[in-house]
């Protein structure tokens, strides 16, 4: 298991808040390999983004954030290395794309400046060389008339264009791992797929590993190799895309999947909803975290914490009753 591109072991991220210490990510483990796309899915507030940002240690405020566990990237534990070593990795070996492309671009600098910045920083290129690189990148991501665009400001171009620019920034140094945090949520549907296609094609070209954070299972089905499902700061189920969609084991995963409207199939079937709301991080249930909302929960679920069980080499599950439930759901579908 030691030669994954990225391997996260028992990662915990804690924040100190007004109301005391909160653990937003509580002991999650997963890995990403070169060339593969790992999807992390879950409702908002489940800790997906925190996980992503923890990998790059973007929560900088000392005394407010603390991490436990291991994040091994190419054999280095990112939680143990110095700030300056971490900076060498950011934007160079691991890049990140954020959800809202407008707010993620600095409004007071030109697009060109923002693309050139990591190039000059990590590749030690001169301003002129970096400028050429930036134009190259803009061409690569399919922006017309790049010589003009480089001099424009983010608010002068369209939303899809902005996300392409973000991708250009992220890929400027040809990273080994790309973390895309809901890269398409803020975009039109047509543009969404263009962007995802783009990311996908670049993955093949550059042989990157991609960690795609999304709540859109359709995207997952189309573009990803493996999936990790998160609930309330924990990974509850992980596996290959096919097996997960065909054979979801965790009641939460089942709930998620059955809440997707089916384009082809029984349209009369009522969409199922997961009842209740995600509890706040201050009020974490004692036993299984999903128990209060789980239709199958019993006294054991309420009181005892299940462990993440490895079923076979690429299938893991955290549920006391996955064997019983399996049948129940497949019957229903």
């Amino acid at each position: 298991m030691g030669d994954h591109l990225l391997e996260v072991n028992n990662l915990k991220t804690h924040f100190r808040t007004e109301r005391g210490k909160v653990t937003a990510v509580d002991g999650i483990s997963f890995h990403v390999d070169r060339g593969e796309v790992l999807a992390i899915v879950g409702e908002s507030g489940c800790g997906k983004s925190v996980t992503a940002q923890s990998i790059l240690r973007l929560f900088e405020e000392k005394g407010v954030t603390s991490y436990d566990g291991e994040i091994n990237f190419e054999g280095k534990n990112l939680l143990k290395i110095s700030d300056s070593e971490m900076r060498k990795i950011r934007g160079n070996d691991i890049s990140m794309i954020f959800q809202d492309p407008l707010s993620s671009l600095n409004p007071v600098f030109t697009i060109g400046d923002q693309i050139m910045e990591p190039i000059m920083l990590h590749q030690k290129l001169s301003k002129k060389e970096a400028y050429e690189r930036a134009i190259e990148m803009l061409k690569l991501i399919g922006i017309p008339a790049p010589e003009q665009r480089v001099h424009e400001y983010p608010h002068q171009i369209s939303g899809g264009m902005r996300q392409r620019v973000m991708i250009a920034i992220a890929l400027a140094c040809q990273p080994k791992l790309l973390i895309a945090d809901e890269p398409t949520t803020a975009l039109d549907v047509t543009i969404q797929s263009q962007i995802l296609e783009l990311i996908d094609s670049l993955r093949q070209k550059l042989d990157m590993g991609i960690m795609l954070i999304t709540h859109d299972l359709g995207v997952v089905a189309q573009h990803c190799t493996r999936v990790a499902v998160m609930y309330l700061g924990e990974v509850v189920e992980e596996g290959d895309v096919e097996s997960l969609f065909e054979n979801p084991l965790h009641p939460y995963t089942q709930g998620l999947i059955s809440s997707i409207p089916q384009l082809f199939g029984n349209r009369n079937k009522k969409l199922s909803i997961i009842k209740g709301m995600v509890p706040s991080l201050n009020e974490i249930p004692k036993g299984c975290r999903f128990a209060p909302r789980c239709p199958f929960a019993d006294a054991k679920c309420m009181n005892e914490k299940p462990e993440l069980e490895t079923l076979d080499h690429n299938k893991r599950i955290k549920c006391w009753h996955h064997q019983t439930i399996k049948g129940a759901v497949s019957n229903a579908t």
Binding site: Q53, L56, L58, E60, E61, G63, V64, D83, R87, K88, I89, R90, G91, N92, S95, M96, F98, Q99, D100, S103, S104, L105, N106, P107, V108, F109, E117, P118, L121, H122, Y153, H155, Q156, M166, I169, A170
Partner: protein
């Protein structure tokens, strides 16, 4: 851009008109007259009457006003009753000390405020932050003149490091010039610093929470660059506004401090002129101060465009 500036300058006219009328009204409601002051405490009644007539103080007020406005349009602010010179000249003579003091205290303020405000923003919520912000509140809560008095007692009287008060023009030598301004600049600068630091903090806090800061960090930029290049520039508009405002008030608002330190600046000119009922000087100076204040605000507005392309492009269109 040009038409924007022109529009702004034209919109000044009603403001200045209102200011001049208000000032004129206040002045002529004020009892006391310059003739009595010129002639001194033991002058006879007849002498005072005679001088009043000679100074034209017995004309109807509206006539005096129109006469004055007429002069202003010809670039003539009238003559001082006391200084045997045109008001414009008197203002220019008092402008030097005020500008030196304003610049020096603003530099002091910015040197204190920006690092502290940024530090507090980065450590928001921590003890450092609370200490800095508590201190800045203290800075706002101490009247400048009071702080000035304390400084005089400590630095000038007890330690004898600096002259108690007074002013030497730059022509007397740089150090001579500066040494008279250190205490008043600290007294004024600290209060301004507090205001600027608070604005810096809150603007920085807001900006630090914006997404592009995460982008900047995720690029692997050094924190220094993230703060000073990406955050500060975006956070700077409100900071600049405060800097502009405080600078504007310094031009005349330092009146009490100028009195304490005996700095012959614009503030003191106005206070003295009110005391002496030197009508022409009061009117002219207030007009000038108002103009400066508004122009500084305009300048700040134009600087927004330099800092933020969004503002620039909006104004150009």
């Amino acid at each position: 851009m040009k038409s924007y500036i022109l529009k702004r300058i034209l919109s000044l006219i009603p403001v200045l008109l209102i200011v001049s009328i208000v000032v004129f009204m206040i002045i002529h409601l004020t009892p006391g007259d310059p003739a009595a002051v010129i002639l001194g405490p033991e002058a006879s009644h007849e002498d005072v009457k005679q001088l009043q007539e000679e100074l034209g103080l017995n004309d109807p007020v509206y006539q005096q006003y129109f006469h004055w406005v007429e002069g202003v349009f010809q670039g003539n602010l009238g003559d001082s009753f006391f200084m045997d010179k045109p008001v414009t000249e008197a203002i220019l003579e008092h402008l030097g000390p005020t500008i030196s003091l304003a610049i020096l205290s603003q530099i002091t303020a910015i040197l204190i405020a920006l690092p502290l405000g940024i530090m507090a923003a980065r450590k928001r919520g921590t003890a450092t932050d609370q200490t800095f912000m508590g201190l800045s509140l203290l800075g706002i809560s101490i009247p400048h003149f009071l702080f000035g008095l304390f400084l005089i007692i400590i630095l000038a009287i007890n330690l004898r490091w600096l002259p108690v008060a007074g002013y030497k023009p730059l022509s007397a030598g740089f150090w001579e010039h500066i040494k008279y301004l250190i205490m008043p600049a600290i007294a004024l600068g600290t209060g301004q610093a507090a205001l600027i630091a608070r604005m810096t903090r809150s603007s920085m806090v807001e900006t630090l929470n914006l997404n592009f800061i995460k982008t900047a960090r995720s690029k692997g930029l050094h924190e220094r660059k993230v703060i000073y290049k990406h955050t500060l520039r975006n956070a700077f508009i409100p900071i600049l506004t405060v800097i502009g405002q405080t600078f504007g008030t310094l031009v005349a608002g330092a009146a009490v401090t100028e009195t304490v330190f005996n700095i012959p600046g614009i503030g003191q000119l106005i206070i003295n002129s009110v005391e002496r009922r030197d009508y022409m000087v009061i009117q002219g100076t207030v007009l000038m101060v108002t103009l400066t204040y508004v122009l500084i605000n305009l300048l700040v507005d134009l600087l927004y465009g330099v800092i933020d392309p969004r503002v620039r492009l909006k104004k150009e269109s």
